[in-house]
């Protein structure tokens, strides 16, 4: 395509543009604004979406599939079948985890209890979190001092505890919690570790959204089941699977539903997170903005295109004479058409480049104002460019066609 003739035409168009700088600037303005608007809009909405995704993950949202016993079995008068049923239990977690070992990168169990927690420094009624599997990792807890629960601790329900930052500070204000003994109800347990403080703020000046997580008093779920309020079926309050890929999660959740229903005598006495809704939410997040920005981009491209056509028409006299002269010295209508199109497309290309610069600047300013990190995708550039090229092409057609159809004699005489 980059034949000699095309290169000549391109060079000619460049000369033409340089010689009519004022006109060319006006003509590109629409493209610049359109591209900047599409690119900037997409990038800002991408940045926002990415930020919000990150927060979701941080909040423990996006990559976890939770299963809980449904309300009917937790309160009220259960039916005979429900009573006979075993509910959500450790076995469900194990079987679910091996359902798709590749997709599942972690399984956790949780069994809650309440007890009076006593240390030499404090005596409070607290929620106890019985944990199992990969609970720590799935909930983003890390040990600050001491150690995590060992597999053996979890397996055998050893009397050990981990304290969240707030809990540690409450029960051991002197800071030497590890190795001490606390009493959970009547059970003495040894604190084997304390957890790092978890902090999450939407904005710097807002409160810590994770404050409640620092209140955790964690013990092995098996300990809760065996010595506090358990039963021999090892029922649990919540099972969570970590699955990174949202698309895989959807099929996994269906398979899991079928598996659990089979385990539960065909009773749907459990509740799995609605992944469809999550997918929709993720997809639709920012879609509205994308549409708006694309629309405003397209509108400015249309506006720019019209300005372009207008300028072409306003400079018609000059241009018609020019076309007449060119035709008189040997340019065919096709050649004139190609010259006009080349010029318009070159202008569009240059405008798009300027628009990229403007769009990047625009996105930087807005995202720094919103205090979110800028995230730009090649696809946004491509979109902006394709739109500009399409509109540049479409709006160049009419003047170019008009010019190519001029009769040389009339064009020369045009006043």
């Amino acid at each position: 395509m980059l034949s000699g003739a095309f290169r000549e035409r391109l060079a000619g168009a460049w000369v033409e543009i340089r010689e009519n700088l004022g006109r060319s600037r006006l003509q590109t303005l629409g493209v610049v604004l359109g591209v900047a608007s599409v690119l900037g809009g997409f990038s800002i909405s991408d940045s926002q979406r990415r930020r919000s995704d990150e927060r979701w993950v941080k909040l423990g949202g996006m990559d976890r599939l939770n299963v809980q016993p449904s309300e009917a079995i937790r309160d009220g008068q259960p039916t005979a079948l429900q009573t006979a049923n075993l509910g959500l239990r450790a076995e469900d977690a194990d079987e679910g985890g091996s359902l798709d070992a590749k997709a599942v990168s972690g399984v956790s169990q949780q069994k809650m209890a309440r007890a009076r927690v006593r240390s030499p420094y404090a005596d409070q009624d607290r929620q106890l979190t019985g944990i199992g599997g990969d609970y720590m990792a799935l909930n983003g807890y890390t040990v600050e001092k001491g150690r995590e629960f060992s597999a053996e601790d979890l397996e055998n329900g050893r009397p050990v505890a981990l304290l969240g930052a707030e809990a540690a500070a409450t029960f051991f204000p002197t800071g030497d919690a590890v190795g001490q003994t606390i009493r959970l109800g009547e059970i003495p347990v040894v604190v084997v570790g304390t957890l790092a403080e978890k902090v999450f703020r939407w904005r710097d000046n807002q409160g810590n959204q994770f404050a409640w997580r620092n209140r955790i008093v964690a013990v092995p779920a098996t300990l809760v089941a065996r010595r506090m309020q358990g039963d021999r079926w090892q029922r649990v309050d919540r099972v969570a699977f970590r699955i990174r890929d949202l698309d895989v999660m959807k099929t996994f959740s269906e398979g899991l539903g079928a598996l659990l229903k089979g385990n539960h005598r065909q009773q749907e006495d459990f509740r799995i997170d609605d992944i469809g809704a999550r997918v929709r939410k993720r997809r639709s997040q920012g879609d509205v903005y994308n549409m708006i920005f694309m629309l405003s981009g397209v509108l400015s491209l249309i506006g720019g295109g019209m300005v372009n056509v207008n300028i072409q028409m306003a400079t018609l006299k000059e241009r018609v004479r020019e076309v007449g002269v060119k035709m008189a010295i040997g340019a065919s209508g096709r050649e004139v058409f190609k010259e006009f199109m080349t010029e318009a497309l070159l202008l569009t290309g240059l405008g798009a480049l300027a628009g990229f610069a403007a769009g990047v600047a625009f996105s930087k300013i807005i995202t720094s104002f919103l205090e979110i990190p800028l995230f730009m995708q090649p696809a946004s550039f491509l979109w902006a460019f394709l739109l500009a090229a399409a509109f540049g092409f479409a709006f160049a057609l009419y003047p170019a066609w008009k010019a190519s159809r001029l009769s040389p004699m009339e064009a020369l005489r045009y006043e």
Binding site: G4, A5, E8, G12, V15, E16, E19, N20, R321, E322, G324, V325, K326, M327, A328, I329, G330, A331, S332, G333, R334, E335, S407, P408, M409, L412
Partner: protein, 231 residues
Amino acid sequence: MSSIIEARGLTKVFGSNGTAVHALCGIDLTVSAGEFVALVGPSGSGKSTLMAIIGCLDSPTKGSYAIDGTNVEGLSEAALARIRNEKVGFVFQNYNLLPKASIARNVELPLLYAGVGRKERRRRALELLERVGIPEKANVLPGVLSGGQCQRVAIARALANTPALLLADEPTGALDSKTGEEVLALFKELHRQGNSVMLVTHDAHIASLAERRVELRDGLIVSDVSEKRAA
């Protein structure tokens, strides 16, 4: 000698039946290679229309026309453009230079459309500018040139593809008489070098420089006089 222009029964009608204007009413004209012809006549005589047809800018309503041996009847718009490019060199009253292109580029343009490469174009353009007497102005814009210089550029451009016919429409119409004389002298010089020249004018003095005068009136040739010894 071969004929450059071979026209038979050229008729040109503008407008439709009710308001039809007969600009040309059957013109027969033959011009041989190397002739210097003046096409004269008052305004409205049809000389501009005839010139347009001879220059392949327009086509006749009726009649046949061949330039340099090529019959133009039924040729496509692109083929006509090619003929204008290769066989005709136009010189206009108001120069018709592209105002925002350099002198050299103006002269190069016909070569560009003929598909001549960039370096060769530039070389030829400079050569032509030298030939018309303004070699030093290659890189300026037409706006800074005087009328006479502009017309020289236009002549250089017309000569770019060594056309069979140099076709000039009132080339001195916009010039003062002294400059006009210089431009006419250039035409005569080009004629002496073997170019076929056709001047369209209403000025009897200019016409007298040509060795052949064709006079038009109301779309018809009323006289066709040759002088073997012009001026």
